[in-house]
Subunit: 337 residues, 4 copies
């Protein structure tokens, strides 16, 4: 079957997912679009999917019997109601991060899905679909023994003035929070944040860099450097130290060039390039599961845990203390990873 998809939110990411479904991936087509600004939805329709229907109200898109599954790509504050509507309609829904803007909101989604009794929600934590992280997970699972420590870094060339200190958690660390849980098959029990000397390339509202220290149930100690005005490039590092060995996330593939007295590789500067292939893979996963009426991959439970952990990290930013993190019991629905 071909999965008929409705896309809510036709900004950069919604438009890109539409293109992906129409022009790259097998098994689905976009049949419906909606946006806060209907003209934006119509522009995407005209450019990519003339045969799709534009809905004035996203609620109507979710409810339409022409729509088998939903992509939520709208602004963060609207994710919760649209996801809840999709669950109410029994339709698989792919939701860009964050699942909700509060842990309470994410919890409401978890409860609704548990009540429905089947997984319907996939959260857009695309790193789990990155070829490098997948290689790393396989090595962590088979080669290095029990993980003991993780040394990670998340670096951007620069960020705009609007990026303030807590966004280092909500917009940046959120990816490490999810992907490290997945890599380690573990959960967090405490968070601490320390602030190194501030780079002169930062601005008034942003303490940059930051060093986040996480502790897991199994005792793994994680340090994540967040440095979003690092100047030199977009760089994601992850090193897992295990009882029997140590593994590093691969560098993105690059040409080794000998020129100008340098042995050199180009580094990425644009974050959009780093995980571009993983967007294809996560949506293919969504389409394949939606064709079976369900969802796989990062779940609403994962979105909820990320929200709780993020809140603790922000508290740790503010207090300078070691902040405990406690989670409710995981519903059985989410036991299969």
């Amino acid at each position: 079957m071909t999965v008929r998809i409705g896309v809510i939110g036709t900004g950069m990411i919604g438009r890109d997912h539409t293109r992906r479904i129409q022009q790259v991936l097998s098994g689905a087509r976009v049949v419906a679009l909606s946006d806060y600004d209907p003209a934006a939805a119509r522009a995407v329709q005209a450019g990519l999917v003339p045969e799709a229907q534009v809905f004035e109200r996203s609620e109507d898109l979710v409810a339409s019997d022409q729509v088998d599954a939903v992509l939520v790509c709208s602004t963060g504050a609207t994710h919760e109601p649209y996801v809840l509507a999709a669950i109410a309609a029994g339709k698989p829904v792919f939701c860009e991060k964050p699942l909700a803007t509060t842990a309470a909101g994410a919890d409401r989604i978890v409860r609704a899905e548990v009540d429905f009794g089947k997984r319907l929600v996939q959260v857009g934590f695309m790193r789990r679909y990155d070829a490098g992280y997948r290689m790393l997970k396989q090595v962590v699972d088979t080669e290095i023994g029990a993980p003991l420590m993780v040394h990670a870094a998340h670096r951007n060339q620069s960020v705009p003035e609007s990026y303030a200190t807590p966004m280092a958690i909500h917009d940046t660390l959120i990816h490490e929070i999810d992907v490290l849980r997945w890599l380690l098959d573990d959960d967090y029990v405490s968070a601490q944040v320390v602030f190194p000397r501030r780079t002169r390339h930062s601005h008034a509202g942003l303490a940059d860099p930051q060093l986040v220290l996480l502790e897991t149930k199994k005792g793994v100690r994680i340090d994540v450097e967040i440095f979003v005005n690092c100047r030199y490039g977009y760089d994601i590092q992850c090193q897992i130290v295990g009882e029997e060995g140590l593994a590093n996330l691969p560098e993105p593939m690059a040409i080794t060039l000998r020129k100008d007295a340098r042995l050199q590789n180009a580094l990425l500067v644009d974050w959009k390039e780093r995980f571009i292939d993983s967007y294809d893979v996560e949506l293919a996963d969504f389409i394949a599961a939606a064709a079976r009426g369900t969802a796989v991959g990062p779940s609403s439970w994962d979105g909820y845990v990320a929200a709780i952990t993020s809140d603790a990290c922000v508290e740790a930013q503010e207090s300078g203390k070691i902040v405990p993190i406690s989670l409710p019991k995981r519903p059985a629905l989410y036991d299969q990873g």
Copy 2:
């Protein structure tokens, strides 16, 4: 539009392309299958495309008005007649290498396509679609000045007893012959082959390794090591030395592991893994062009030049001499790369 594709030859590669079109790529579906052994075609039909029609005769598949474009994945000796039939029918055709088993056969295809007046043929030289070679081409075109030398290697862990000395050219070097012409935008003028000490891991009918020396019109000197019982892995190396710098083909992405007193990366051992992504890209290119009634990428001219060059290399294997290579004038149809 959705391109309706007929697949001739349902062995390993034909089956894999069928899966690719049905399950991975957008824009096409397989509607027809044929094979020398119709039971093989029916097995693929049953497993992957129940709705496809199985033809007893491949000629009928080519002629069917249900088929917009053809994939030729049958045994090498049958490529020429099926490609000629597709050209006669005015249908885009993707032909796995070799385009024909003789240069004369490839020439007949070129003439037919030129007479038709539009490109219809894409040859399955997938390396041009590999992300690493594409990065390398960009660097060669922009960073290192005029190319002067190429140092390349093509290594397999081992080959079966059936692999004899000339197959190092026809089955192995053929890929370097094509991809280096494309990287350099150049053609060959001579070939020489020297035989190093034979590895004890070779067998009676195979001189392994071999070193092929090629010279191009622009004066670039190329050395290609072919070593098909190298034991350690499947390894494709390519280094371009230019007037201003030097660029290397990237290694396949791998986890760096510290374990057992070794800093180590796994190397590929299976050739099928090395270019697996490029099969997706080359077929997507074929589908997109076929939707416009034409073909792009490696052309029948490229297949013809590869055949002429291969013949010269085999002659150089046998004679120990430097064998000149001369090409007829390239028809204008192929001027756009």
Copy 3:
């Protein structure tokens, strides 16, 4: 002039320095030996320096008018009195680490040297003489802007049962404490230690690994992983993150080997190999300065600061708290690095 050296302590390191002075380096010769066990001193005499005099009492060696400069290679508890004796005699003295077993003892040496009015003491912090660290210092000083963070690791394959938790500071971290101060031209203001999950390869008296977090006056945040049963090799890592870029300590030179489906480099397993060349360089530095009647390189002040910092780290191990570190004012004698 040829510097006439007396060596106190003829165990492994004393014997090795004797060989170095006699057989490798220019500008000095060993003229006197002493050891707690005079037979040991006589054995070194017989094997390496027949013309040297063996002293029963090390104090007599220091006082001898045949001796221009002294090497203290005896057991740690004896360092302080021998160094003080050398200062009293106005003779340059090279002292293996630790300078003294307590901060108070190191302070006494500092005061004696300040009273003497000229540098006479070099402490055996050999990493400052390692080619890799020297390259790193140059890059830190010129290429990466203000340092903001350091990520370091100190890993041994394994340690004996006698190695208990505090030794991770006194025997292991002590090197990072000194070399990072030197790299950053900075001092420490606080220390924290966290304990990850313990490796199953550790033993009862040792929490392994440990993560030490240091903060400097300039606000640099340092994390040092100490993992002394890491199994895979002896591995020293150091990454400096600056405002304009990031630099890594080089890996020791190794052959890249392709074999057995691995791209692999041998890692060191024996710590003695890692800095073996730097012993030559530090002693050459000592000899050159001793010929001028003074000392250069790591000073007694550096030894004193290392002792204070170590004490704070051990307190942090025990308390789990962030322990402040405060230093007295540095005497002007030590202002020139």
Copy 4:
């Protein structure tokens, strides 16, 4: 004993060796100097060895009973007579390359040394003392099985106008000729030279780059790229392909820097830095053997073979043909490497 050394030729290399013996190495001192320009010798005397005697005639330096061993660092054409004089005097002699300017001259030295009956000559092929090549030799001897091929490159940033085509052999390839024989424990049987497209950065008298193809007795095929206006740096590459695996000469140690959107290492640009440490090691080897009245390391036989091979390579440059190389039987004196 301290070996008393006389240095003939006080240009750059003679002066540097004098400094090395006086200030770095143990076991020797320079007691005599001579130069075509006695003022040059007196300048080195004044700056480095006031106590040394300056001889007007180098023959007198060789004959002086104050001189135990001789370093020949004068211009190439004078090497043969000074080495012969040292042999006649029974004194160990270190001779910078070339041993003689003709194969016949080198042969005369071999015959004189054989007649003397003991090795006295060490030729300045310093690469055998480079840490990287030594690591490579160990791996070649133990890890990769029988060598089958060598891919090597010798690249300089640029050369002056005085550097003409044959100097690519006599001044540049000469090092690969010696070090590859040593690595492989083999001799050459033929040479061929091909000329790629000439770089625009070359000049009228120099065909640059060149590709030299050598064949050994054991059947190993060697390709050496010589590219002396490569622009990007001084770069020595060597890859040995064996029956069981493949090994590469290490890159010189360098800091990995992330800056300006590049992952980058500085490359060497000055050839003098590349093997600077190996000069120390080769002279230490000379001094140690000279103290025993003999010589070790690269022998006059090695210098003679290098001369014969160079001559064949120059003939191959001129003729474009494959030139056979044949050697007389090696005298037993040189059987021990």
